[in-house]
């Protein structure tokens, strides 16, 4: 076996013709980037190595953050399309195939943002920084394998809340056990 050049060995296939039309909407990755170019959330549904990931983020923030406010919300990039939308200081970006429905992806972004907004109560960038894991949990209730799994905001909120309360219950239980131990060893 020939030794391959670390994990980035085969970055991208070179294709001359792309004939197969992808009939499925598939989101390849989701990025949240702040206006200063800081990454707030990344979710990769297609395999990208660590090096590729940072390259992708660099390339895209360079392209997207410099675009003016009136321009369309799509950029073409490496044969894919990146649909982005800015909410306050955050850019929500999703990468899809050339033939996918960009308008629908805008709607999915908005769907996610509304759910975040309800969950945090008028969400701001700081919420997403300090509770980044919650943002991920919510995203996991909205998308799986790059496909939309739920169109009802209420259902998503209910599911996330149910899981949060499971965690809370476990915490309380742990706390009460340690209390009991503390009491007993007094």
């Amino acid at each position: 076996m020939v030794e391959l050049d670390d994990e980035t060995a085969f970055p991208f296939f070179i294709t001359l013709v792309t004939t197969s039309i992808n009939l499925l909407l598939q989101i390849h990755f989701v990025l949240l980037i702040s206006r200063q170019g800081k990454v707030r959330l990344t979710k990769w549904y297609s395999p990208y190595s660590q090096k590729e990931r940072s390259k992708v983020i660099r390339e895209l923030s360079g392209m997207i953050l410099t675009r003016g406010p009136k321009l369309c919300n799509f950029v073409e990039w490496r044969g894919f399309k990146v649909v982005y939308k800015r909410y306050a200081s955050l850019y929500f970006c999703m990468c899809i195939n050339q033939d996918d429905n960009e308008l629908e992806v805008l709607e999915i972004i908005h769907h996610y943002v509304e759910i975040l907004d309800r969950y945090f109560g008028s969400v701001c960038e700081l919420d997403l920084i300090f509770n980044f894991h919650k943002a991920y949990y919510i995203l996991d209730e909205v998308l799986i394998a790059g496909e939309l799994q739920e169109s009802s905001k209420k259902t998503v909120a209910r599911l996330v809340a149910a899981q949060d309360s499971l965690v809370e219950a476990a915490k309380e239980e742990a706390a009460s056990i340690s209390n009991i131990i503390a009491q007993a060893t007094k």
């Binding site: 020939v2 085969f10 013709v17 990208y48 369309c72 950029v75 799986i144 394998a145 496909e147 169109s151």
Partner: protein, 879 residues
């Protein structure tokens, strides 16, 4: 929380990182945190494992390496409690991807969790599996997922459906297991389940023809009804988006109907009514409505034709195109591209609007619009459209000029109605964006110019004007210099004036001035300077009165450090000085270049051995017929890798002039050389350094001063453009041949010079599957050991015909790969034919690393998509 812990909380760490003012400070904080997490990892600290993982995820997001946390994820997943599992799975999805071997270790935990009694834990496992499953895991866990499609809670069913999509993508043969469950789930009422099952159904249809047939027969009617219900459903706040009931569901339904209706008239009939309803009734003032309309248009375009609907769809696109929202205009342009094949006339009606979009301030829209305009151009509208584009070129952004120029050139080349128009347009493009045009474009222009015999005067005068105004555009300068050299006399004497021309007065000295200016201005560009020198030599004969002045200009390059220029100037000087009697014949006008040969060559589709039959006998003044194709090829940058015409009637002196490889094949008639020493002449034209001399020069002639000796390629190819006109004539004048040989000894025939082709490499069978075999033949050019030319040859041993055959290859970073177009995309069966495709691999670590390549071959067999993949690591060493 443990009060005795010295570690910081997640929140505090984030705060500390945010408080950093410099990147160095941030690195220090992260380093410290990582150190303490590592310590906790090696202590196997259970209490803070989940907190440490959360920290690691944050650090990971900042772009720092966090691989040491991967095992921690697995430990948390294996823990019994929900909170640990939740964070563990999150970490797993974030820190790992399907390509890591560690992932295999989690298969067992996943299996247990998929069977867990707590539905949320099942949900976590499904989510993780859906997001990062590898093919092995998919195969192992498919039965669990299949079972979960029937789970009592709909929220698990929907996750299982999406997870199944991933499984089928990874292992397509598992598809059939899912067909029946999906068919029953399509009757669900729960939106989440319906949404995801429709997606799963679409995936099944794309991987399996039988599944598609099955769903088409059994489910089309049902799905049409679901869509009807969704469209007409009463207000439901839970699913409502700006007044539309669950647009996501509607879009997915439209998409699955598109798949079912495509190519099937009966199924298409079933959906006509509802599509018409969606197309007419959907509100188009909000994005959600437009998203549905967009999907609906696409479905109408794809299903079997029923006239009325198509009109409806094109009208929607027309409305989109005039929308003020850039997003809507963008998708309209996108869709119109697809609509061209359906109804070209209807799209043409929007031409003016589309043309406006090319000038939009938004790069994404411009790009789409340009692509679309390119498709819209035809014989009838080529003139006005090109004018618009050329006019816009003047004011367009710098970074758009490249794309725009390429498209204009391609339009002009493809559809030009007459030569004068072609020349005019090209001149305009060159003047505006000469630095953006590719070499082939101006090479092509020169070919057209030589063929337009009655326009020579007009062209050279236009170019003379152009070079005055656009002397900074390299391509203009090159073409102008070439033409002034060739047709300088027409310029000065105003020969062949057209009615539309304004007369100009150019003296002989003016013409020389222009070239002198060019040589001074473009000091860093070898090609331009070399072309200038040749032009000067030609002018010295056309304008005898300027001969002395030209000699002086030529002499200035004698001291050039660039070998090519030095040699040219010394040679030319000696021609001007000593060989007056020869000169006029030497620099006669170039014969007309054969357009057909050039365009065929350029397309690269000519088999390598046809040049023997291609000799175009050309009558030149003294009546000696000769073949001109070999020099032509060189002139046109087509690589000197062709065997010389062996039936050439004239002695091969001409070919000797043109390059060692031709020389060698001529001296061994009948043998085909597996390894040609000709490099891509284009590369040579652009490289300034001489190729390493491989043969010591034995001549002491003044002309072979440089180490760049008899058999060197770079010189001959560089010379190709001009030495041609010298050589063709020299050959014709066979009487003074001996003196010519003496004069040009630098190129002289020297058949004893050994040919260095580098070592030969045996062909390898790069890939072999049940029915498909791929053989690689290698060749290398001397002087560039790091470049390997590979000829890939595909043969199909099965009985079926492979259509839509596509070969893809990927290489590691230290290699660069260039793929030429394949000879065909259809591969006949039973080994009765083959596809060949050329690859060029540049190994930046030549000598250290061997070639390695990953390949992917896709094709259709009986209309079924097939995919084969493999890795090639049996390349000969030292490639």
């Amino acid at each position: 929380m443990n009060p005795f812990s010295s570690e910081t909380r997640l929140r505090d760490m984030i705060r500390a990182i945010r408080a950093c003012k410099t990147a160095a400070e941030e690195r220090a904080v992260v380093r410290k945190e990582c150190a303490s997490i590592r310590a906790a990892v090696s202590d196997n600290d259970n209490d803070y494992r989940h907190r440490n993982l959360a920290k690691l995820m944050f650090i990971h997001m900042l772009g720092y390496p966090t691989h040491f946390g991967q095992m921690e994820c697995l430990k948390l997943i294996a823990a019994p409690g929900f909170p640990e599992k939740r964070i563990g799975y999150l970490g797993l999805m974030l820190l790992l991807d399907e390509r890591q071997e560690v992932l295999m270790l989690v298969t067992n935990s996943l299996k247990q969790d998929l069977n867990h009694t707590n539905q949320y834990i099942v949900g976590l496992a499904l989510c993780a599996l859906g997001n990062i499953s590898s093919a092995e895991m998919a195969r192992d866990l498919a039965p669990e997922v299949e079972r979960l499609l029937q789970f009592r809670d709909p929220n698990v069913r929907k996750k299982a459906a999406l997870c199944s999509i991933r499984i089928i993508k990874k292992v397509p043969d598992l598809a059939e297991n899912f067909v029946n469950p999906v068919a029953s789930l399509l009757k669900e009422k729960h939106h989440g389940v319906l949404l995801t099952v429709i997606q799963l159904c679409a995936e099944l249809c794309t991987v399996s023809e039988e599944a598609l047939e099955y769903f088409r027969k059994k489910c089309t009617e049902g799905l049409v009804k679901v869509l009807k219900d969704a469209v007409n459903s009463p207000y439901a706040p839970e699913y409502d988006i700006s007044g539309i009931a669950d647009p996501f569901l509607q879009i997915r339904l439209l998409r699955i109907l598109r798949i079912l209706g495509h190519g099937d008239a009966d199924a298409s009939d079933l959906m006509n009514d509802i599509l018409a309803q969606v197309a007419t009734k959907t509100e188009s003032n909000k994005n959600a409505g437009n998203a549905i309309l967009y999907e609906c248009v696409e479905t109408i375009m794809s299903i079997e034709d029923s006239g009325g609907l198509r009109v409806l769809a094109i009208n929607i696109l027309g409305r989109f195109l005039s929308n003020r929202d850039n997003n809507i205009r963008y998708v309209a342009l996108n869709m119109l591209m697809k609509a061209i094949s359906v109804d070209g006339q209807a799209v043409q009606r929007h031409r003016a609007t589309i043309l406006e979009c090319v000038k939009d301030s938004d790069a994404s829209i411009r790009k789409r619009a340009l692509e679309l305009v390119y498709l819209l151009v035809n014989e009838t509208n080529v003139k006005p459209l090109t004018k618009e584009l050329v006019d816009y070129l003047e004011v367009s952004d710098q970074d758009f000029k490249g794309d725009l120029t390429a498209k204009i050139c391609s339009i002009v080349e493809k559809l030009s109605p007459e030569k004068i128009w072609y020349i005019d347009q090209m001149l305009k493009v060159l003047c505006e964006a000469g630095n953006y045009v590719k070499d082939e474009v101006w090479h092509g222009l020169i070919v057209v110019i030589t063929n337009a015999t009655n326009l020579h005067g007009y062209t050279v005068r236009s170019l003379y004007r152009a070079i005055q105004t656009s002397g900074d555009q390299e391509a203009v300068v090159r073409v102008a210099v070439w033409c002034i050299g060739e047709y300088g006399d027409l310029l000065v004497n105003n020969v062949g004036m057209l009615d539309l021309e304004e007369p100009i007065t150019v003296t002989e000295n003016d013409a020389v001035d222009v070239i002198e200016a060019a040589i001074k201005r473009h000091t860093s560009d070898l090609t331009t300077r070399a072309m200038c020198l040749t032009a000067l030599l030609k002018l010295s004969s056309r304008f005898p009165s300027c001969s002395q002045r030209i000699k002086e200009i030529v002499n200035q390059s004698k001291g050039s450090l660039l070998l090519e220029l030095q040699q040219r100037s010394i040679e030319f000087d000696s021609i001007i000085e000593k060989h007056q009697n020869l000169r006029s014949a030497l620099v006669e006008r170039m014969p007309v270049l054969d357009e057909a040969t050039y365009s065929v060559r350029r397309a690269g589709s000519l088999p390598a051995d046809t040049s023997t039959s291609q000799g175009n006998p050309l009558q030149i003044p003294n009546g000696v017929p000769k073949t001109i194709d070999a020099p032509l090829l060189d002139l046109l940058d087509l690589g000197a890798d062709e065997p010389a015409p062996q039936n050439s009637s004239a002695p091969n002196f001409l070919q000797d002039l043109l390059g060692g490889d031709i020389l060698s094949s001529a001296s061994q008639p009948g043998t085909t050389q597996p390894q040609k020493s000709g490099t891509d002449v284009l590369l040579d034209l652009l490289s300034t350094g001489p190729s390493p001399a491989q043969n010591g020069s034995s001549t002491t002639d003044i002309l072979s001063l440089g180490p760049d000796n008899n058999n060197s390629n770079s010189k001959t190819s560089l010379n190709a453009l001009d030495s041609l006109s010298l050589s063709t004539v020299t050959q014709a004048q066979s009487v003074p041949a001996s003196s010519v040989i003496d004069l040009l000894d630098g190129f002289g025939p020297n058949p004893t010079v050994p040919k260095d082709n580098g070592p030969a490499y045996p062909p390898i069978t790069a890939f072999e599957s049940g029915s498909l075999s791929l053989v690689f033949n290698f060749s290398k050019q001397p002087g560039s050991p790091q470049i390997t030319e590979i000829e890939a040859k595909f043969t199909n041993k099965s009985s079926g015909i492979y259509t839509d055959f596509i070969f893809q290859a990927a290489v590691p970073k230290f290699l660069q790969l260039h793929l030429e177009p394949a000879s065909s995309n259809t591969l006949p069966g039973s080994g009765s034919g083959s596809i060949t495709q050329k690859l060029r691999v540049t190994n930046n670590q030549h000598g250290k690393k061997s070639l390695v390549m990953r390949i992917r071959i896709s094709y259709k067999l009986n209309n079924k998509d097939m995919l084969e993949e493999g890795q090639i690591s049996n390349f000969p060493r030292d490639l």
